[in-house]
Structures are given as C-alpha cells and as structure tokens.
Amino acid sequence: MNVSQLAEQLRQDHMFMKDVTRWEVIPARKARTLPFPACMDERIKPALAKRGIYELYTHQAKSLEATARGEDVTVVTPTASGKTMCYNLPVLSAILKNPDARALYLFPTKALSADQVSELYDMIEEMGVDIKTYTYDGDTPAAARKAVRQAGHIVVTNPDMLHSGILPHHTKWVKLFENLQYIVIDEIHSYRGVFGSNLANVLRRLMRLCEFYGSHPQYILCSATIANPRELAETLIGRPVTLIDDNGAPMGERHFVFYNPPVVNRQLGIRKGAIPVVRSISGMLLKNGIQAITFARSRLTVEVLTRYLKDMVRDPLGNAGRVRGYRGGYLPGERREIERGLRAGQVDAVVSTNALELGIDIGALDACVLCGYPGTIASAWQQAGRAGRRQGTSIVFFVASSAAIDQYIVNHPDYFLHQSPENALLNPDNLYILLSHFKCAAFELPFEDGDGFGNAPGPEELLDYLSEEGILHHVEGKYHWSAEDFPASEISLRSAAAENFIIVDISDPAHHRVVGEMDRFTAPMLLHENAIYMHEGRQFQVEKLDFDACKAFIRAVDVGYYTDADLNINLSLLDIEKEEPFAGTAVAALGEIKVTALVTMFKKIKFDTHETLGFGHVRLPETDMHTTAMWWTLPDELAEKIPSDRLKNGMMGIANLLRIVCPLYLMCAPQDIAVVYQVRSPITDKPTVIFYDNCPGGIGLAHKAYGMKQLLLEKALQVAEDCPCEYGCPSCVGPVGEVGEDGKRTAIRLLRELTK
C-alpha cells in the first residue's frame, strides 16, 4: 500500500478519525526557477548539466547574486531544497577564478561535514579541476594535517575544531587566513543557547585573526525555518546580513495528521499514553512497507519504541535489522551504517531523537511519526520535513502526549500551522562565555590598547581584569599572554562541562567495549548505579559509575522494567540585578543564582503497563551551575492567609502553568528554561516561584521573562481558567495526584491576586 492509499483508508476508519483533531493537506508546490546568474563560473555549467540542472531555484540564484555583490548572506531553506548549491557555487566560482582563494566550511557535527563533503567532491570531480577539499577534524590523521593546512582550498570543519585545533595554531594556517574569501556556516539554527553563544565568540576570534592576516572574508549562512533567522545570523557574526527566504524548490503533497490519544479517565484527565499509539501507527507503516521515521523526545522513549517495533518484525533468529534506533550516544560508525541503510532502503523504520533532525542525508522518507511535540515549532517542522519528496505524497502523524504543551498544540493546530516558529536566542556576551573566549583571543594575538573584540562590551575592563589576575601582561600598549595554560582546552563549546562520560559494556569480562558516551549533566540521570541503560533496544544495568574517571560500566540484562531518576534541585542567590514591587507587596526580581542538581533516587517502571515497581537510592556528587533567573515573591499577607499545605499545592500549580506558558511566549524550547517553586525560598525567605535559564551563565531568557513578568502570570491564569478539568490535569496545573484537590483552586486564587 502506498501513502495515498493508506491516507485514504485511514480517513474511512472512524475509530481512528474520532481522535484526529485535524487532518491538514498541504498541497504540492511547483518549482520556481531563474537562469544561471552571470557571476557563476562558466566551467561549472557542464557539471551541473550532467546532473540535469539547467536553471537554479529562485533562492539559489538570488543568494548567488547577493554573494557576488559582496554581501553577507543568510539563506533560509526547508529540508531538501538544494541549499548546498547556495554556498558551493559561489565558492567554486571564486576558486576557479583565483586558485589562491580559500573557503572555510563549518558544520555543527562531524557527521554532517562528512556528508556535505562527499557531494562537493562529486561536483569537483565532474568538473575535472584541481580544487582540494579537505575535512579537518579530530579524525584527520596527523600525517594528512600538513597537506590540509598548506593546500586545502576548502577546509571543512566544525566549531569545536576551529576553536581548539585551528585558531590557537593560526600561524600554521597562514595560507588559509591570508586568502580566506568565504566562511560558510550551515545549519545555523542549531547554534542557539550555549553552543551559539560560544560560536559567536569563536567567530569574533576568527575575524580578529583575518584582520591580522589582511583578509576580509564574506559569510554565507544557511538556516532551517525559524522566526528570527536574520537576528540569529547577525548576532552570530556581528554584522548585517542579506536574508534570502524565497524558496523555489518543489514539494509533493503532504498530509499532516494531528492525533490526540483518547481520554481513559475523565475525572483525572488521564489520556492513553502516546507510546502505545505510536507503537501501533509506526507498526502499521512498517507492515505496509512504508519507509518511516519516528521521532521520540527522550533517549529512553527511543529505546522503548525501537524494542517494540523490532519485536514486530523479528525473524526466527531474533534479528530485526529493518528497524533501527538512532540517538546521540551511539558511536559514529554505527550511526553512519544506519544512515546508509536508510538511503539504500535497507532500513524501513528508524526511531530517533532529534539527533536526526539536522541535515544528515538519509534521503527523503515517506512518512514521519512524532511521538510527542518536540518542544518547538521549528523542530517539529524540521522533523516533519524528513518525510516528503519533491514529488509524490508523504504523511506526518503528530501524536500528542499528555504533556500540557502537546495538548495545547493538538487542540490548537492552527497555532502550530500558522504561528511563526521560535526565535533562536543566543547571548555572545554571556560573561562566562565571553571571558573564556577573550582569554583564547589574547592567547592567539595580543590585544593592543583600544582594541575591541567584535562588538563585545567592555574590552578594557576584561583586559584590566585579566592583567590583574596575572594572566595577561600589559606592557607598552600591548597585552601579552603570560600564563602557561592553553586556554582553548578549558572550554567545551557545547556544554559547560568539558568531559563526556564513556559507557563501557563489561558483559564479556575478556572483552570490554565502549558502546557510547553521554554528557556530564545527563549522566547522573541515566547512568547512576543500578540504572537500566538501553542501547538499540537492548537492556543493560549500570554496575558502576566512576564519576571522577567519567566512566560507566554496564552489563547486559533482560528485565521487564526500565528506570527513571528523580532530580533534586537547590538554588542559592548570587546577586540581584533589579527588583520591583507589583500587586501590592509582591516583588518581581531579576538576578543571578547558583543551581545545584542532585540525583537522589530512581523508580523502576514496568514495561507495557508503566506502573512503578520500586525505588532505589543514588549516591552521586552534586553538579553546580551559575545562571540568570527571575522570580516572583508572594506578598506576606496573602501567604499568611493560606495554610502551608494548600499554599504549596497552589504554587506547584503556578509553576506547572508557567512551564507551559513561558516557552510559548518566550519562544524557546521547554528544556531551555526551568521553573521551580519554594514555599520558603532561601533566596527571598518567602514563598517564591523562580524561573531560570537552564544553561550556565544564561542566554537571556530570564531577562526576556522579566520584561513579561505580568503577562506571563496573566497567561498562566488564563490557561488554568480555560481548562475544563475540575481539580487539575496535566494540561494545566498538573494532575490531581500531584497538586491535590485544592491545587487548581489555590493556584487560580493566587494568580488572581497577583494580576489584580
């Protein structure tokens, strides 16, 4: 059965359709093209002709022209619209005209760079010209590195390698820096938060060195659809850009199905879980031979679903290679194999986290199932974009979980279909990040009096500070690096924690093998001792977590449950930046806090029924994070009127409501923020609800929230009042089991007082 037939059949199925809140058909779109612009080198045309290309899509042609005019360009394109042409063509033209010209390509991951380079190789080979393209990353053999440095016309790398492998050793890259004409950055939408803030500073360092070597490179940036591509691009590179978002690529017809699992307990507002529903939808696709990708929000769900789907198609020997799991933490070789399998059609079903959301080439698939809302509109479209060919029909199922944001989306499909996607926020001037890169910059090239650092604020103060610390040595107008350290090795661009945990399988005592890795913040949650760690649907039990050596030792097991850890958060105040009273004696404040996270216990949860089987204790050190926060402190007279039990439940309700409302109005991902409540907060000594940026140093969300401090409470109240449930449900203040029978009422009462 093909996709159109399946869609037709489902539409006749009343049992299925009664839970569909919307069936949107996005009509097919024709290609819009323009002739090759004059700025494109003639020698490229035959190579394009061989691929059947005689014209360019409008967005490709326009970006070529803008680049030729010397502008920094940002191209916004959905998946599979031929964006690589937007940068490959100008770069190839430039090198054909001047063999000394150089270009630097940055991709967020090694996997992506490998993928894009192979396409570039093909083009160059077809033209039969001497343009050397090299990948320079951690996998580049030492012997090959010299050739890359000397002769590479196009150097393909990632921000991490640029940061620690290229910039601090710039004197070995003279040819590149002297002749750098284009800097290409793909997938810029993935540079949000800490990663983006780091990259912006890496680029400040890069441009500083280019200036030293006398080159003036232009930027070509590509982004998936987000609300603020221009703002993101301009913040990243610190210069104005020309935005090209006129997509001329064709697209086949697409069905977008919004499915809300039925309510199974009216009073408690409990719905059937998303996982069993996805299990049957993905299973149906699998049985009909429709190649599909299923996106799940957590690594755990990926593993659970992979196991379910594998069970459906196991051969007598128990193999189920047609179904694969895919997520961060799998080793690169394994991932490449799965990607190849998808392109070659050997893999029919893949279950993935957002790891496959980026532009890794897995070909276009027929169907996509979203198990739960990925958190942002941009992500949802990126994931949905994995299904959809230039011709032919494709289908996307969005299966809502009981999470409030999912419920909001599935009940307001128009919000999803018509609202602009989120902003990608970053804050290059986050003091932690800025200071670290400032050190790197000083190491790379001494600052002179009056020097700036891109558009960073307060370079003089930073320089004075580092001089006083003895890290820089100020003499005759120059600040010289005078410390033994290699500052670039002290920063990891992707998280505040430098080191990842290695996961070692010790099932075979004679043959230990590394099966994966995990970042430092996640490890205590998923790799604590006795946790069930799942990898490709197989279960392992964590035998030992060596926190200092960053290693987890696991052993294969086969048990009927999985584990889920409880995270305990403590907050302490570092500094108050602003505060102002509102609604009587309530106070809203903005400042900096320290967040201490500690995993203390975990639950064992049975497969299939998802009931809790038991608990276990976890003994692990705390992890610390400094970040920016804003908080609302309840007025004394209000707090005094309510018994502390009820107050606690009400505040829990408010916190839950804010977790729903904040991502929508700040236009960020739910995991970027955290909302906690404290009946007697160590920060204020009073009942307080605290909102903070969930990344070290913050990326500006708390500031933005402080600007909306009244609005956010009003919207929270609105959600609670509009919700039809009686005593609370997961879509508003939280389930009754959590907030108690008075939780919703108290939350509404408190919010009304606060928004008077």
Binding site: K172, L431, L435, E468, E469, E476, E484
Partner: protein
C-alpha cells in the same frame, strides 16, 4: 554587581599589578665560553661522517665551525600564545665553544631577540637541535610570523638529534631525553638542574619582579643543553665511524638498523655482524639474514641462518627460514622437510614452557610439514614434473607458492 565584581565571581582570585617595564632598544645578551678540550673530536667532524648518520642535504664543504647549536626556553608548550623568551645559540670557534644567549626581559624585546636569532642563523650552514623539528623551529616560525618578520632564515639544513638518538638508543634506554642521554651516554649526570616544567612559571615570576637572579638556573640549564648538543653529535659521529668501539650489542644492532634505513647497506651489515656476539645477537643475526634476502643474496642469508642454528641463536626462526629456502629456492624438498621436523621438535620443547605464541607457530609448522610430506610423495611419484613446474613460480612469495604446491594428481 558591576562588571569587575562579576568577573571576580566568575573565576578570580585577585592579583597584584606589576611594575611597568622600561622601554628598551635591545634584548639582554649573555655569552658563555668553554674550552675546546670539552668537545673531543668536534673539529674533526667531516661531511662524510655526517652523511653517514643522516640523509640531510648538506653543503658541499662542511666546516664543523659552521654548525649552529640552538635551544629555546619557552612560556608554554605551543600554540600562538607561547613565546620563546630565551634563545641560546652555540658554535665552535678556533679557540673553543661559544654560547650566546638572548633573553627578552619583557615582551617588547621580542623583535630584538628574533633579530639576533635571524642574524645568528644567517651565519651558519647547518642547524642542530634536540627535538627542534617539532618544537623549536615551528615555535620560532610562529614568533617571526606574529612579529611580521621574515622567517626564511629558518630554512637551513637541520639535524634533529632527538630522532638520531632515538634510533640509536631507544632499544636499550627506552626514553631518550637529553638529561638521560647526558647521564647514560656521556657519563655526565646533571646535578641540581631546574626541571623543564618549572621554567615558564619562573619566567612569569621574573616578569613580575624583574629579579634577574630568578633566571640564573634557566640560563645555566640552557647553556648546558647547547654544549651537550655539540658533545652528543660528535660522540655519535665517533660511534658511527668506529662501531666496534660500542660496548652494547643493542646499540650496534640499532645503529645497523639506522644505517639500513639510510640505505648504507654495507655499513649496516658490518654493525649486524659486530652485534651478533652480544645480547642483541638474535636480532642482529635475523636482521643480517633479512638484509641479504632483500638484496637477493639468498645463499649468504642461508649461511647466516645456519650459523645461528649452530650457535643456538634465534629460536625457531632460522629453521623455518631455512625450510623456506630449501623448499622454494633450492627445491630440495627432503632438506626442507628435515628443517621443518627439527623446528617442530624444538617447538614441542618450547611448548612445555607453555608460551602462547608457540601455539600459532606450531600450527603453521604442522601445515608446512604436511604440505612438504605431500610434495615429497608427489615428487617420488612424478619425478621431475613437479620440480620443473615449481621453477616457473620461482619468484613468487611464500604464500603464493603454497597455493600452487599441490597440483591435481
């Protein structure tokens, strides 16, 4: 909280401002003079000897006084923020050995220091360092570049003693740092020397206090390193000229390996022969035989294997090699079989000692044995047919012949 306080909260401890440096027009210069007697043989070093030791492209005429020995002291381990604050350069004169050290008393003096380095290098034909190819020269290149100065002065023939020493002594000594070589090879252990890892911090403290006495150890250490380079090079030259004077068989064998890599086959074989009597006798014998085999001198190779068997050296290998030789070169199947049987006998002796690798050898021998037995039978049955057929694949490798060894009967 103002920016300053925040910076402190982010990661500060507080520090003291430093005294400002005075503007200068040159860096500080130190000179050390040493007696010619401390450098035995240094004046006799010839182009030919150097050519024997390295594959460097040397100038037509080599004057030992035209070799510049250079060593740097730096503020770190590399990257463009690392600076060579002290560069020492030494050379032979008609009267002895002179070391000139250039110290930047503060960063603004770096261009002057580099000017001295460039001028120094310009006067010599060959540069000699210890690990200079990976450390000192790239670092100086980087410094010239950062100061926008011409770095072509660094493009002179460069002898890196680290690599030469490793080739010679790694087998016996393991790690080959300069201090260890001075102690073990030159017999001059250093006393109260400053550990290299403390150098950067010393210099930073000097920058703050400008107390020159803090640098005394570093200057002494640097001058000593440079003098040692010259002594070491000439010591090595002496050994290369007279390998028979080397006391350790491992070193002679290693020298043979080094010479063979440089295609000095005859010199290499001389070393191997010398080394055969000592502890590296097994290795040297094998290397000698392999060297003969490589040049097609099969009979000489076989003779070495035979001698090894006679001297009970090299374990099973000589038997196996002779079995191959008899089977594939001489086409003497019975002799090959005999060698294989002897090897198997020796092997079973060794198995008693339960060495793991023996098992594999044993399996291989069993395979060889069976093949040879088959060939024996075939030869008996078919007379010359097999032999003439075998000759056509004379040049094939061991593996190649094995596949072809048993034509259908």
């Amino acid at each position: 909280m103002n920016l300053r306080d925040k910076l402190r909260a982010v990661g500060g401890t507080g520090g003291q401002p430093r005294p400002a440096g005075e503007a200068t027009t040159d860096c500080r210069h130190f000179a050390v003079y040493r007696e010619a007697e401390e450098f035995p043989g240094a004046y006799d070093l010839t182009r030919e000897t150097l050519q024997l030791m390295s594959d460097l492209e040397l100038p037509e005429i080599l004057d030992p006084r035209k070799i510049l020995y250079l060593d740097t002291e730096t503020t770190g381990l590399g990257g463009s923020g690392t600076v060579a604050f002290l560069v020492g350069m030494g050379y032979l004169t008609d009267h002895g050995f002179e070391v000139h050290q250039f110290l930047m008393r503060d960063y603004p003096e770096e261009p002057y220091l580099l000017k001295h380095v460039a001028a120094g290098l310009g006067k010599f034909d060959v540069l000699c360092t210890f690990n200079g190819t990976t450390f000192d020269v790239p670092l100086l290149e980087s410094r010239f570049l950062m100061n926008r100065m011409d770095r072509s002065c660094l493009e002179i023939p460069h002898l890196d003693l680290l690599h030469m020493c490793r080739r010679l002594w790694k087998l016996r000594l393991g790690r080959c740092n300069l201090g260890r070589l001075e102690e073990v090879i030159l017999g001059k252990p250093r006393t109260d020397d400053l550990p290299g890892s403390e150098v950067p911090q010393r210099y930073f403290t000097y920058l703050k206090t400008k107390r020159i006495e803090l640098l005394e150890d570093i200057l002494k250490h640097n001058a000593q390193d440079i003098a040692s380079l010259c002594v070491l090079l000439n010591h090595m030259a002496e050994l290369y000229l007279h390998p028979e004077k080397i006391r350790f068989s491992e070193d002679v064998y290693s020298m043979g390996r080094a010479l063979e890599k440089l295609n000095r086959t005859e010199n290499a074989r001389h070393c191997y022969r010398l080394a055969r009597r000592g502890r590296a006798g097994d290795l040297a014998g094998q290397a000698l035989a392999v060297s003969y085999r490589r040049t097609g001198e099969r009979e000489q190779a076989a003779e070495v294997w035979r001698e090894m068997i006679r001297d009970r050296k090299g374990g099973i290998t000589p038997y196996i090699e002779l079995a191959k030789y008899e089977e594939h070169i001489r086409r003497n199947i019975p002799a090959a079989l005999e060698m294989t049987e002897r090897a198997m006998a020796l092997c079973s002796e060794m198995t008693l000692r339960a060495e793991e690798t023996v098992q594999q050898t044993q399996n291989e021998l069993q395979y060889r044995y069976e093949r040879l037995r088959r060939r024996m039978k075939e030869t008996e049955n078919h007379g010359n047919r097999i032999i003439s057929e075998g000759f056509q694949s004379n040049q094939t490798t061991e593996k190649g012949t094995e596949g072809r060894g048993n034509p259908p009967v």
